[in-house]
Amino acid sequence: MALTQVSSNKCCDGYQKVFEHDSSELKCKMKFAIYLPPKAESSKCPVLYWLSGLTCTEQNFITKAGSQQAASEHGIIIVAPDTSPRGCNIEGEDESWDFGTGAGFYVNATQEPWKTNYRMYSYVTEELPRLINSNFPADPEKMSISGHSMGGHGALICALKNPGKYKSVSAFAPICNPIQCAWGQKAFSGYLGPDKSTWELYDATVLAESYSGPELDILIDQGRDDQFLSSSQLLPDNLIAACSKQKIPVVFRLQQGYDHSYYFIFSFIIDHIKHHAKYLNA
């Protein structure tokens, strides 16, 4: 698979690059951002996958979150893919900001007309790691995953559905229980159809209730003044309850005064990278 470099900027002694490639899962050209710390020049580094939220591309995280300094210090590669396939010309894909383009929800769609292209789950868990491991000095055994909002949902389900694959997981204001919130219900009924049992395969709260595997250390930051928290789109309490029952360690921090924006991510990204570094650099 050939990668074409789209941009490269030196940042914090490492390099923030963007590459483009032809995706076999999504059947279209996809871009992803990758930050390579200075340590990558001399040895293989662990990888942190960042999944962005609704309406984002691969650019938002690398320009707004300020993660490069911490990544450089801890010697971690950060890969930030796009949030959905682009340019597939599917009817209705641009109608809403919370369904279709920019709203892949990290599932493998089963319904027409989405099922050919909208396979973000496989892209993130299989194709992208394969690509990264064979084209960059990445340590294939050391992967972690994180994300924001819809990306937080993606990070949690990828970790819960693949015990042992990710060394650690964290999220910013994630959608914890999509089958109970409006966003999730809209997206899942569109991508997965009416059968609610298929939705449960992609719901972090349901997955946590039946999780069995190596111990997973989850860090979640949630802004208290987040408008989507108050409009019951995020529902973190359900996830916490499921995790407590299953004895999955969760650190849930409610941050006073913070909202849903990238300013919130910027404020706490260093804590999250440190959390991942604990396991990736162990």
Partner: protein, 741 residues
């Protein structure tokens, strides 16, 4: 703590060298292989050893095509391995040590020889497989470590150059690439392994000239990688090997799992060794700081003493000063007084002149006054005395006691071994231990008593054995039980097992810790549960002649007024009666034990048991001691009345003159005379009701003195008899005597 090959000291270098040495050639291993016993040797050394053993020269694993194989590309640093010495081979063949084969035969015709390799490391003969040494895997890891070690040792002697720099500016290589099998400098490496291409995931290694293939391949299936590990055989397997029958039912796991597991195990073990080293270091540091602290304390104590000494000196000096001032003042005052006395000198001169006056009336007139003045002067002189004591008898110092105390100033000693009071220590229903500290011992704040039940029963040891030191360790299988924080100098141990020997010892504790143990004392517990009773006065008492005391556990036989009067009238003989004292309990079943002390100066005392009804009979009709029935010399057959076939309704031992008379068990009279035993300080009795047997013991050592039989068809009571003066003390329960919790 990292022992990095790059940053390693001299001793560690030598230590690592040993790990990397071949036991045969004792140099660093070259192309090591792993034998079935897990030890490594150079492949060529292994071949030589086999040849020396008498095997045909073994088939060596094929050397992969590497730069070092051809002399041109081999680094000048690595010397060429000398070929095996053929003269040795010839010698071996000539002496016919090769079993069954000689050089003429073709390889194909000989059956495969199962070779036994004498491993120099473990000393055992290990069986090599069919293909001999070729069956042994290369120890690539060891090779790599040797390589890295060599690299750190010989850095600088011959640098590795980057193979991609464009001349004329060829730089020294900083990395090697195992996949490209070349050496690069930093810039060229980045150029040839750009990010975003598959080359970016190549593995960096140190620059080297020998790029051996980096994976182990299966010895049998050369195309297959070793992806599995068989736990049962401890061997690496390829996918084809795994399917073989040889490994059916074996525990096989993927190599990644074995890698992880072994890595974790080894890391844990390494950390444990480090931690141990760390802990020894920590202990050394602790000792150092402990010494510093204690020294500090000592200095503090001494400086305290010094300041007190200085203070006392000051205070005493001030007292002296006060006394001096006071006395000096007084003497000075006197001095000024004396001065005034000197005025008398004027008076005397005047008087002398006056005496020259011859005119009598003038003389009388002047002398009258002068006489008064002289009288006064004389008075003054007579009453003069020093107003201050010149002697300083009250200001002498005797510091001999202080000097003695100071010179014996010492670190607090732990208390010396306590001395057990063997008179008061005893075993009864409980163990009572009593001790004191030697006089010159440091005081103890509290004591710790240890006791141990020695298996073997009371009969195993008799006599009291005092052992030096702690010989309690031989033969004891159980551990000491402890009574800690015992205040005072005695202790009670309850919850005893009967018929056992207990060993006890005690030590004191003060600020300096525990002192030495006392000598061990062995206490024998009674053979049966202790019976507690009092002397009974329910049948009335010979109140005149027997006085009960101490809660009716003590009895004294006195003559009584009647006998006193009778003795006063008589001069020749006196009637002594036998006064019976009975216990207030009767025994109807089981085994019971009790003890008593008979006063050694008692005249005649009988101790034993009797059927209650019979005793009652006798009480009211006392048997006459003087009756000829009881006189053995009277010619009457004194033994005939007591038939031997049924046990008598009583059983007593008689004691007097500090001895116990032991009746003979048989009818035969020996010529040595009657058998006696010295009266022990405490006498123990044990009645077995069911067996009708009464045993007498020395209550301390529980040595059997005598055993008799008694008719136990009816309730039986302990009983005592006084004939003449005597006293008797029943042993009271320790539980009652000492109200310990």
């Amino acid at each position: 703590h990292f022992f990095n090959l790059d940053s390693i000291g001299v001793e560690l270098k030598n230590s690592i060298k040993r790990e990397l040495h071949c036991p045969v050639c004792e140099e660093m291993v070259k192309q090591p292989i792993v034998l079935p016993c897990m030890h490594s040797v150079c492949v060529l050394c292994a071949a030589e050893v086999l040849v020396q053993r008498g095997y045909p020269p073994p088939e060596l694993p094929a050397e992969p095509k590497t730069p070092t194989s051809s002399p041109i590309t081999r680094s000048p640093r690595q010397t060429r391995r000398p070929p095996p010495k053929t003269d040795r081979l010839d010698r071996v063949i000539r002496t016919g040590l090769l079993c069954g084969t000689h050089p003429g035969r073709r390889r194909k015709d000989t059956p495969p020889v199962i070779m036994l390799f004498p491993c120099p490391t473990c000393g055992k003969d290990v069986e090599l497989g069919e293909r001999g040494l070729a069956d042994c895997l290369r120890n690539l890891t060891l090779e790599r470590i040797v390589e890295r070690y060599r690299h750190t040792v010989s850095l600088g002697s011959m640098a590795v150059m980057c193979q991609f720099c464009k001349p004329p500016q060829a730089l020294e290589a900083t990395k090697g690439c195992a996949d490209c099998r070349s050496n690069f400098c930093n810039e060229c490496f980045k150029l040839y392994h750009p990010w975003g291409t598959p080359r970016a995931q190549h593995e960096h290694i140190l620059p080297t000239h020998s790029f051996r293939p980096k994976v182990l391949v299966c010895v049998e299936h050369e195309q297959e990688r070793l992806q599995f590990y068989c736990r049962s055989c401890q061997r690496l397997l390829c996918p084809l090997c795994k399917l073989r029958r040889a490994h059916s039912g074996h525990k096989i796991m993927p190599i990644a799992l074995a890698y992880q597991t072994l890595k974790e195990k080894i890391t844990k073990e390494m950390n444990y060794v480090f931690a141990n080293q760390d802990s020894v270091q920590a202990q050394i540091t602790q000792v150092e700081s402990g010494i510093a602290q204690t020294e500090e304390q000592l200095n503090q104590c001494v400086s305290e003493l010094r300041s007190v000494l200085a203070e006392r000196q000051g205070a005493l000096a001030m007292l002296l000063e006060g006394a001096r001032a006071q006395r000096a003042g007084a003497l000075n005052a006197q001095l000024s007084e004396k001065q005034s006395l000197l005025e008398n000198a004027g008076l005397l001169t005047y008087t002398q002149e006056l005496l020259k006056e011859t005119d009598q009336s003038c003389f009388v007139q002047a002398a009258r006054v002068t006489h008064n003045r002289l009288v006064k002067a004389i008075e003054n002189q007579q009453h003069f005395s020093l107003s201050a004591d010149p002697s300083f008898r009250h200001f002498q110092m005797d510091v001999s006691r202080e000097l003695k105390a100071l010179s014996s100033m010492d670190f607090i000693q732990a208390p010396l071994a306590p001395v057990i009071d063997t008179q008061k220590t005893l075993a009864y229903d409980q163990l009572y231990l009593c001790w004191r500290l030697p006089q010159d011992s440091a005081p103890a704040w509290h004591y710790s008593v240890e006791y141990l039940r020695k298996v073997g029963g009371a009969g195993a040891l008799w006599g009291r054995v005092l052992s030096e030191g702690s010989s309690g360790s031989n033969g004891t299988h159980c551990s000491w039980q402890r009574l800690d924080d015992v205040g005072g100098t005695s202790a009670v141990i309850d919850k005893l097992e009967m018929d056992s020997v207990y060993v006890l010892r005690v030590r004191g504790c003060n600020k300096a810790g525990f002192g030495e143990y006392s000598e061990e004392v062995y206490l024998h517990t009674p053979p049966a549960t202790v019976l507690s009773f009092c002397l009974d006065s329910r049948w009335g008492l010979h109140a005149e002649r027997v006085a009960l005391g101490k809660g009716q556990t003590y009895a004294r036989s006195v003559p009584g007024m009647t006998l006193l009067q009778a003795a006063d009238r008589a001069l020749t003989s006196c009637h002594l009666t036998s006064d019976l004292l009975v216990a207030d309990v009767s025994i109807t079943q089981g085994r019971h034990y009790w003890a008593c002390s008979v006063e050694p100066g008692s005249y005649l005392v009988k101790v034993g048991v009797g059927v209650e009804a019979k005793l009652q009979e006798w009480f009211h009709l006392p048997q006459d001691m003087a009756s000829p029935r009881y006189d053995p010399d009277s010619g009457h057959d004194s033994g005939a009345e007591d038939t031997q076939d049924c046990p008598p309704p009583f059983c007593f031992l008689t004691m007097g003159m500090g001895k116990i008379l032991l009746p003979k068990c048989g009818a035969s009279n020996t010529s040595t005379g009657p058998l006696t035993a010295p009266l022990p300080p405490r006498l123990g009795l044990c009645l077995d009701f069911e067996k009708g047997r009464l045993t007498f013991y020395d209550a301390h050592s529980l040595r059997v003195l005598w055993e008799g039989t008694v008719d136990c068809s009816a309730p039986v009571c302990p009983a005592f008899c006084f004939i003449g003066g005597g006293a008797l003390q029943l042993q009271e329960l320790i539980a009652n005597l000492f109200q310990h919790c």
